[in-house]
């Protein structure tokens, strides 16, 4: 019990620390790209008319990133919920909704956490996720398909899994990741268009580089600058890939831990194993959940049949561990 408490505490600390680093890294990343752009513009010939003394791009990008980081911190969970078109369940009407409210309140007791807000995602595919920066502001969302398909014990197991993410502060980190992956993907798409589809920009940049490379001012500019430029371009292009991989790597280990904690809350690993199998058997993707929020879900919202078919190699690129492996670990805990 003490080990468990200590383990939970370590997890929470690690997630808080990672969240802070993520926010810092995000701001630095944009500063790097912004000031890199300033350097690139400075390297251009004077006749292109884009040289400037004050690094405005860098300053604006950094300020923008700081603003985005703040809003991701403050409103990230709202954005995630909004993006899935989830609706808050305030007054339960149907028996299924009443059951969901009861189950959530039961698990809040088991986990010793405040009751989170409950949201329903209008989607036929069974899936669930939790979000929110703190347990006190947490939200648990389930799809309509989940409510229709699972029995009470299975629903309880899924809700317990989500509570585990909340208790471990996984939701804080994952929500930030989701918000930022979305922003970075958007930005780099825009940058890519700017670089490769604008004739004027590419032309000017190419000319500038050629002149510096063979020109007389090479020594003055220093050999480090082209290197900086190349590094900046590479990081810019790699950004979407890196951010995507990051969000995957972050979530995989977490799912095992959350499964284990859920089993501790319900003392019923078998129900979670059954629920996971039931979720796996449905092959329609969860359309309501976009790429950014995918890592938050209990099972991969993309086509799960595909994930199974990919096998070990697919595992490397999946945001979630294979259900088979998760069920196997739950069985070791005593699920039959």
């Amino acid at each position: 019990m003490v080990h468990r408490a200590a383990d939970l505490f370590t997890q929470q600390e690690a997630n808080r620390r990672k969240s802070s680093w993520l926010l810092l890294g995000f701001v630095f990343f944009f500063a790097w790209i912004g000031f890199g752009a300033d350097i690139a513009l400075y390297l251009m010939p004077a006749e292109a008319g884009v040289r400037h003394g004050v690094p405005w791009v860098g300053i604006v990008a950094t300020a923008l990133a700081a603003g985005l980081a703040w809003s991701a911190w403050r409103f990230g969970h709202r954005q995630v919920l909004w993006s899935t078109r989830a609706m808050e369940l305030i007054t339960p009407v149907t028996p299924e909704q009443q059951r969901l409210v009861n189950v959530v309140e039961e698990m809040a007791i088991a986990a010793g956490l405040p009751r989170p807000s409950i949201w329903i995602v209008p989607d036929e595919d069974p899936n669930a996720f939790a979000t929110g920066p703190e347990p006190a502001q947490a939200a648990i969302a389930v799809t309509e398909g989940l409510l229709a398909r699972l029995d009470r014990d299975e629903l309880q197991a899924v809700v317990a899994h989500e509570f585990a993410h909340i208790a471990r502060y996984d939701t804080r980190l994952m929500t930030l990741v989701a918000a930022m992956v979305g922003v970075i993907a958007l930005m780099s798409d825009g940058m890519g268009r700017m670089l490769f589809h604008s004739q004027r920009a590419t032309g000017a940049l190419g000319r500038g580089m050629a002149r510096r490379a063979g020109g007389r001012r090479l020594g003055q500019v220093g050999p480090a600058l082209p290197l900086v430029l190349v590094l900046w371009l590479v990081s810019l292009l790699a950004a979407p890939v890196v951010s995507r991989l990051l969000s995957m790597a972050i979530s995989r280990k977490r799912e095992f831990l959350a499964d284990a904690t859920a089993a501790q809350y319900t003392r019923n690993p078998a129900a979670l194993a059954r629920a996971l199998r039931a979720l796996e058997d449905v092959r329609t993707p969860t359309l309501a959940v976009g790429r950014g929020a995918a890592a938050l879900c209990i099972v991969d919202p993309s086509d799960r049949r595909f994930q199974r078919w990919k096998g070990a190699a697919g595992d490397l690129f999946a945001s979630h561990p294979s259900i088979e492996e998760r069920v196997r670990r739950l069985e070791q805990m005593g699920a039959r």
Partner: protein
């Protein structure tokens, strides 16, 4: 150099005492809170029972004994104080309810009652809440008990007025599982 080292050690010792003391106090508060949670859930069950009895009375009036047992067990449970007493009285109430549900299985008329399904969900939920709050209380109390017995935190236990918290023992082995409340009657 000597006095400085002594001072440093002293400061470290004081800091450690403060941390250990605060940890024990935090755990103690968690135990108190967890106990209150159980109380809240037990009250919920106590409030629900008259409703249940009223609902099923008409349909199974001739099972007077079973109903009476539930009502009496409830009265005793409401009056009980102290961890041991409450645990025993609530255990009896759980058993009495279990017998009532078993009896109710035999009466298909109950199926026609509109709010039986609703009541069944409420009761299932209440039983779960009690079980989970009990489980949470035992978890927190165990953490607290282990912390105050472990070296070196036990040196501060007296200072924090820490005494072992009583666990909610479950006497009836059949009750260890969360009771399955099923009024669906087939």
């Amino acid at each position: 150099m000597g006095p400085l080292i002594t001072l440093g050690l002293l400061v470290a010792a004081v800091l450690w005492i403060i941390t250990a003391y605060n940890r024990l106090i935090m755990l103690k508060n968690q135990v108190v809170n967890a106990w209150k949670q159980i109380d809240v859930q037990l009250k919920r069950r106590h409030d629900l029972i008259p409703n249940l009895v009223e609902t099923v009375r008409g349909a199974i009036s001739f099972e007077r004994e079973t109903l009476e047992a539930v009502v009496q067990a409830r009265t005793r449970a409401v009056a009980a104080t102290g961890v041991k007493d409450v645990a025993r009285a609530e255990g009896e109430l759980t058993q009495a309810l279990g017998r009532l549900f078993a009896v109710a299985e035999a009466y298909p008329e109950l199926k026609s009652l509109a709010n039986v399904g609703q009541l069944q969900e409420e009761l299932a939920s209440t039983e779960n809440r009690i079980a989970f709050s009990r489980q949470h209380y035992n978890d927190v109390a165990t953490s607290y008990n282990v912390a105050q017995a472990q070296f070196p935190t036990n040196l501060v236990a007296g200072l924090a007025k820490a005494t072992p918290a009583e666990l909610w023992e479950i006497e009836d082995p059949g009750e260890r599982d969360v009771p399955k409340v099923d009024l669906s009657l087939g």
